[in-house]
């Protein structure tokens, strides 16, 4: 069992390594994407400077916004560096390209998730660390930020996997499901103070943005270890849930006559 896990881990690391190397083939294009993504993210600080200038009386601070952007950008970036393959699930499910992964003696979901990487995601990750450390340059912040960037990346990848696993049951929802997978990045860059009622409940349940970014920001602001533990436990729950959903869906997968191989 332990050897199997070790082997899976080794293969996954190799898969991630080669995905990253592939994305760096054109070095200038890679560096350019990273730089522009960093600048694009940084531009949003202007938006928040303007919002804070008209927010007298509101419970918002620049530190909170920097943490929010740092964790969200970092988690999104890391998720798209390591698990970018989950975004290709609709294409694989609909066109029958899963066959190439099914014949491999390793976890199908992990093989797919680690098979792709996004160039611009490195810009997101760098930006994430930069703004968190600008807000609070300390070792403890760095450690907390690293922890939450990792948990956030895993939760986000699991959320996308769960959503796309629904396509095993019906491919008619493809557009809707794709739109829903973008919800965490849309809501995750705005503070939770502005949302209330049923929406807030949704942000902690169906769309787990609360666990990706809102609770981590609370930990960074209040140093509450209990909240950090809740985030870790939720991450484990999401991993199990994503595997259960994917495997349930996989039983309904039917191949096409498309010939495909992974070398």
């Amino acid at each position: 069992m332990l050897t199997e896990v070790k082997n899976q881990f080794k293969v996954s690391l190799l898969s991630i390594k080669y995905s990253i190397l592939r994305s760096m083939i054109n070095k200038s294009s890679f560096l350019f994407s990273v730089l522009l993504m960093f600048i694009s993210n940084a531009s949003f600080l202007v938006q928040w400077i303007i919002i804070l200038s008209v927010s007298d009386g509101a419970d918002l601070s620049m530190k909170q916004i920097l943490f929010l952007w740092g964790i969200m950008a970092g988690a999104y970036g890391l998720s798209n560096i390591i698990f970018c393959g989950v975004h290709y699930l609709p294409q694989y499910i609909i066109s029958g390209k899963l066959d190439a992964y099914l014949v491999q003696p390793k976890s199908v979901l992990i093989s797919i998730a680690t098979s792709q990487t996004s160039m611009s995601a490195f810009g997101d990750l760098l930006y994430g660390y930069a703004v968190v450390l600008i807000a609070s340059p300390s070792v403890i912040t760095f450690l907390y930020a690293s922890l939450f960037i990792i948990t956030g990346a895993i939760i986000y990848a699991c959320f996308v996997t769960i959503m796309y696993s629904l396509l095993f049951f019906s491919i008619n929802f493809r557009d809707l499901v794709t739109t829903l997978t973008r919800i965490p990045t849309s809501f995750g860059t705005y503070p939770e103070n502005i949302f209330s009622g049923v929406l807030k409940v949704l942000l902690y349940t169906i769309f787990p943005i609360g666990f990706i970014v809102y609770l981590p920001v609370r930990v960074l602001l209040t140093n509450n270890i209990l909240i950090a533990l809740i985030v870790i436990l939720f991450t484990i729950f999401m991993v199990v849930f994503a595997f259960v959903m994917f495997n349930m869906g996989l039983k309904r997968y039917s191949s096409t006559n498309l010939m495909n191989a992974r070398v």
């Binding site: 350019f32 694009s40 919002i51 927010s55 557009d175």
Partner: protein, 264 residues
């Protein structure tokens, strides 16, 4: 002109098949509108303000609803991704020897897609605005033809900029990062806030920028029409249409020559 009309008609029929997909894609726009609604609601209620930078809460929400409506056109893959992929893959070679201009071909397709998008998004935007905040009392129906004119020019300006960025692919492999930058700049300086919310020193810069001509200026006229400002927006739009058409013509001519050199 007839050939472009034929492309328009053919694309219109093709896009009609995907009308359901366009309706679903409005959900994404609707989510953004809803986030801005929550944000502005929080900002207006936190200091119990009735007006921020000269805008009532209702005007602000309608402003955001229609800036989102306008930007939904230029996010079209036809001006953003198709030319890039045609250039990078070399498929453009199949279209440049046809008896039409490639830019004209792209725009005919873009207008066809926008026709359907306009009907769906306009209905959904109005419905969402009414549900969120109710009717816009400052809207004056008598100015509607003038507002339609500047809205149309706004869509042309935004899509021309998108296409100019896509044509960067003649020189660089991946022009997509510039599209992200475009989206961010337009979102921050046009979609989220009206001009008056920005610091006084920054307002002239935005007023004379394409962001004002393509987003904030026309929508401001819808929310609170002023004939003098209308002329200002119109002149700025005509200026930018002229400049952008000039740029795209020169850019395409030079780009195609570069493509020939590369043997694409």
């Amino acid at each position: 002109m007839r050939k472009y009309l034929s492309i328009y008609k053919a694309t219109l029929l093709e896009e009609l098949q995907y009308a359901k997909g366009m309706f679903l894609s409005f959900i994404g726009t609707g989510i953004h509108i809803f986030i801005f609604f929550a944000l502005w609601k929080y900002l207006y209620s936190s200091g119990e303000k009735s007006i921020i930078s000269g805008y009532t809460f209702a005007q602000m929400i309608w402003y955001v609803t229609f800036t989102e409506f306008l930007t939904s056109f230029s996010s079209s893959n036809i001006v953003r991704k198709t030319p890039t992929s045609d250039i990078v893959s070399g498929n453009i070679a199949y279209t440049i020897n046809k008896p039409y201009s490639y830019t004209g071909y792209i725009f005919s397709r873009f207008f066809a897609e926008s026709t359907i998008k306009m009907i769906i998004n306009l209905l959904c935007s109005i419905l969402l605005g009414i549900i969120l905040i109710g009717p816009l009392n400052t809207f004056q129906i008598k100015y509607l033809p003038l507002i339609i004119l500047i809205m149309f020019l706004a869509v042309i300006i935004a899509s021309l900029i998108r296409l100019i960025i896509s044509y960067f692919s003649f020189w660089i492999e991946n022009s997509e990062p510039f599209q992200w930058l475009y989206k961010t700049v337009f979102l921050i300086f046009g979609v989220t806030f009206p001009l008056e919310v920005f610091p006084v020193w920054l307002q002239p810069v935005i007023r004379y920028s394409p962001v004002y001509a393509a987003v904030s200026g026309p929508v401001k006229m819808l929310v609170n029409f002023n004939i003098n400002e209308f002329y200002g927006v119109l002149v700025s739009q005509l200026f930018y249409v002229f400049i952008l058409v000039l740029i795209i013509t020169i850019e395409y001519k030079k780009g195609v020559k570069k493509l020939n050199v590369n043997g694409g």
